[in-house]
């Protein structure tokens, strides 16, 4: 870390001149800036926090810090899960949370231009009022769109609509040197050189700071309906997924849930939503499915077809969430999994591997089996439609160091198996600080060399978000 300079009084003065009234130093900095939502990867306080409100301010800060060799860690809403927004080398945290304006809609080209600090929830609600849907739907609705783009966040609707990457048309980026560049355009095709736009997406704030985004919208579906399929075991539940796809049914979301996590979330919400038994059989796994379409009649046909596939595949029964209240209840139970886990857990780590959909049951059973070798509890759930699983290691009574040691051993096996099955180590949360060694192991030295080379090209002084993704300190 010695390659970086400390923040000097002169630099603070220059930052205050560039971003008047929005520079905090030392004792004035809120502890929140030292971590994201996964503090297990370590906390670190910045020396300075700057809250920018414009691209020009971001550029001025980057230029100053680049000249002074002071590290800068960009930050949105701090909802990440891999320690990506933690200023591990101190220096400046550059928050774009105040850049939260929805700038304009172009309804003919169906795009919206936003500042990168706009929250996903705010855009989703605003677009809905105008009859549009912004399809990416990560579980954390209060993340910034800049953060979503930086991790290529996915979410529940990815199975039909794809991930954040598929909705980014253009962006304004401030490079670590302070240069401002525009990438992409409001067009649907491009064959115009290397796609720097796509390189920025998923770069986790290591290549540049995204300040503005042009995002694609689609017309909001007119009708939505959800099904809850009940299964006696996880194998039958997961085996349904490829059958649904082959039947040309295109659910908007397709989530699997095991019994234990459903009970945990229901007890957290104080509301029992899903049946635990069906005609004498225990229900051990659930598939939560949403379809969207142009009319209720169309959806009725769709769910009738889907039900044939589900029952054929071994579902005990199928519940229909066809009213706003029932839909809300069904999805509330699913959406609060992470919150329910966090509320009940002192020590928490997680992984978000992605495996081929036909390997999900095999993989989850493997995870449940190896979990027996450790002192922590393992809770998992995930997006059955795209093979993306969230696996949580939870303990309330382990020694923190012992917890970390055991989790590291567990993760090595879990990631090893995912790779062996043809999967990847992160589907949507990113690498950040917490998953670097696993990435290096999985992709190998040549891929790592290419990534490091790209990092050097964008950031010659290596000041932007050091110690993340591919740049080991």
């Amino acid at each position: 870390m010695s390659q970086y300079e400390k923040v000097t009084p002169e630099l603070i003065q220059a930052l205050q001149a560039a971003v008047p009234g929005r520079v905090s130093v030392d004792g004035d900095i809120n502890d929140d800036f030292s971590h994201d939502e996964m503090p297990i990867y370590g906390k670190a306080m910045p020396e300075v926090v700057v809250e920018a409100v414009s691209t020009e301010e971001v550029a001025a800060v980057m230029k100053l810090c680049n000249e002074h060799h002071v590290p800068v860690t960009p930050r949105g809403a701090g909802t990440g899960l891999t320690g990506g927004a933690v200023p591990v080398c101190g220096g400046v945290v550059l928050s774009i949370a105040k850049m939260n304006k929805i700038l304009s809609y172009d309804t003919d080209n169906m795009v919206v231009r936003v500042q990168a600090g706009v929250l996903l929830n705010d855009l989703a609600e605003d677009a809905a009022k105008k009859g549009f849907l912004y399809p990416p739907d990560p579980g954390e609705k209060f993340a910034t769109l800049g953060g979503n783009v930086s991790t290529n966040a996915g979410g529940m609707r990815a199975v039909k609509y794809g991930t954040t990457r598929d909705y980014v048309r253009a962006m304004t980026v401030v490079l670590p040197t302070g240069e401002i560049v525009n990438m992409g355009a409001s067009v649907s095709k491009t064959s115009s050189g290397y796609s720097l736009l796509n390189l920025m997406i998923g770069s986790e704030g290591t290549l540049g700071i995204i300040t503005e985004l042009t995002l694609k919208l689609i017309p909001a579906p007119k009708a939505v309906i959800s099904l809850v399929a009940l299964y006696e075991n996880l194998e039958d539940c997961i085996a349904t997924v490829p059958k649904m796809m082959r039947a040309n049914l295109h659910p908007q979301a397709l989530e699997f849930m095991e019994r234990e996590i459903v009970r945990l979330s229901e007890s957290y919400l104080g509301k029992s939503t899903f049946p635990q038994t069906f005609e004498g059989s225990d229900v051990n796994a659930y598939l939560l499915i949403t379809f969207d379409g142009d009319s209720e009649e169309q959806l009725d046909e769709m769910i009738e077809q889907a039900s044939e596939v589900l029952l054929e595949a071994g579902a005990l029964d199928i519940l229909v969430a066809d009213t706003p209240q029932l839909k809300k209840d069904a999805w509330a139970a699913r959406s609060t999994f992470l919150e329910a886990i966090e509320a009940n857990t002192k020590l928490l780590d997680e992984s978000d591997v992605v495996v081929p959909v036909n390997e999900i049951a095999h993989y989850v059973n493997f995870i449940n089996e190896i979990a027996k070798d450790y002192d922590f509890e393992v809770k998992s759930f995930g997006h059955a439609g795209d093979g993306n699983l969230h696996i949580y290691n939870c303990s309330n009574d382990m020694d923190p160091e012992e917890f970390k040691r055991q989790v590291a051993a567990f993760m090595k096996r879990a990631y090893g198996k995912a790779t062996e099955l043809g999967g990847l180590i992160s589907g949507e949360h990113g690498i950040g600080r917490g998953k670097m060694e696993y990435l290096a192991e999985m992709v190998g030295p040549v891929n790592m060399r290419l990534m490091e080379g790209i990092k050097h090209t964008f950031d010659p002084n290596m000041i932007l978000n050091p110690g993340k993704v591919c740049y080991t300190l």
Partner: protein, 263 residues
């Protein structure tokens, strides 16, 4: 047991609703019509009772023909048959008028079936107008007893025993049958339809009864008049207390409440 559940189709109460700017007209564009939440609780309670003691449930609503969708929803979660009572002359009816229409419809259905309803369920109020008067007015029109604000019910030798929620707690009330009951939120939630029950409900006929089908119904002119429709005033933002420590914040909060003479 022959059970009747009265229901009302209302705008989805989980979305924020506003007036059309500069008017007293409620803007319901894009708001999904749903079955009144308290009526869904009533139907669930009725269905559990039916499952325990046997019998049949009839769902009924007074409203436009499109209120059929509301009845259809109920047919998938416990109701065995359903009717819509619809007539242009009923459009202006207030709660008292609706109770008279419902009473006439109930007499008609009882005459057709050759047997009376034992128990008539209503929600405690509708989430749109929230007058909370329909149940008692219907009991008056039918000449039966009424128990309001139920959260549980069971059959007894004498008729029913109901658990009634009051401001102080709960009260057990017994009644002979027939009887009208209004239902508050019970400890359980309404069930989900299953794919089979939903598909079966889709195929069921839902007859529409008009004024001509009922025997001399006279809803009368509305007795209540709306003086003004307006949106509630926006609440002022609260005071944020964020001192160095939680203890200091607590002290400041207490000081502020003392200064405002709230303690």
């Amino acid at each position: 047991m022959e059970i009747l559940v009265c229901l009302k189709q209302v705008p989805d109460d989980s979305v924020e609703i506003h007036l059309k700017p500069g008017t007293e007209e409620v803007n319901l564009d894009g708001v999904t019509p749903v079955v009144n939440a308290f009526d869904t609780y009533a139907l669930e309670m009725a269905t559990r009772l039916k499952e325990a003691v046997g019998g049949s449930i009839t769902a009924i609503t007074v409203g436009p023909e499109k209120a059929r969708d509301a009845v259809k929803t109920c047919l998938a979660v416990g109701a065995n048959q359903g009717y819509v009572i619809s007539d242009p002359t009923f459009e202006d009816a207030d709660t008292l008028g609706r109770s008279k229409i419902l009473a006439a419809a109930i007499r008609k259905l009882e005459a057709d079936a050759g047997k009376p309803f034992d128990l008539i369920f209503c929600g405690r109020e509708a989430t749109d107008r929230a007058s909370g008067q329909l149940g008692p007015q219907l009991a008056e029109a039918l000449g039966t007893g009424v128990i309001v604000d139920l959260v549980d019910i069971e059959q007894t030798d004498a008729g029913i025993c109901a658990k009634q929620e009051t401001e102080e707690g709960y009260r057990k009330v017994e009644s002979a049958l027939p009887c009208v009951v209004t239902v508050n939120k019970p400890a359980y939630d309404p069930r989900y339809p299953t794919i089979k029950s939903k598909m079966a409900a889709r195929k069921m006929a839902i007859p529409v009864l008009s004024a001509a089908d009922l025997d001399s119904v006279e809803p009368g002119k509305p007795t209540a008049h709306v003086v003004k429709v307006f949106e509630p005033a926006k609440r002022q933002a609260g005071v944020k207390i964020n001192e160095e420590t939680a203890a200091e914040s607590a002290i400041k909060a207490v000081d502020m409440m003392a200064a405002a003479k709230l303690l």
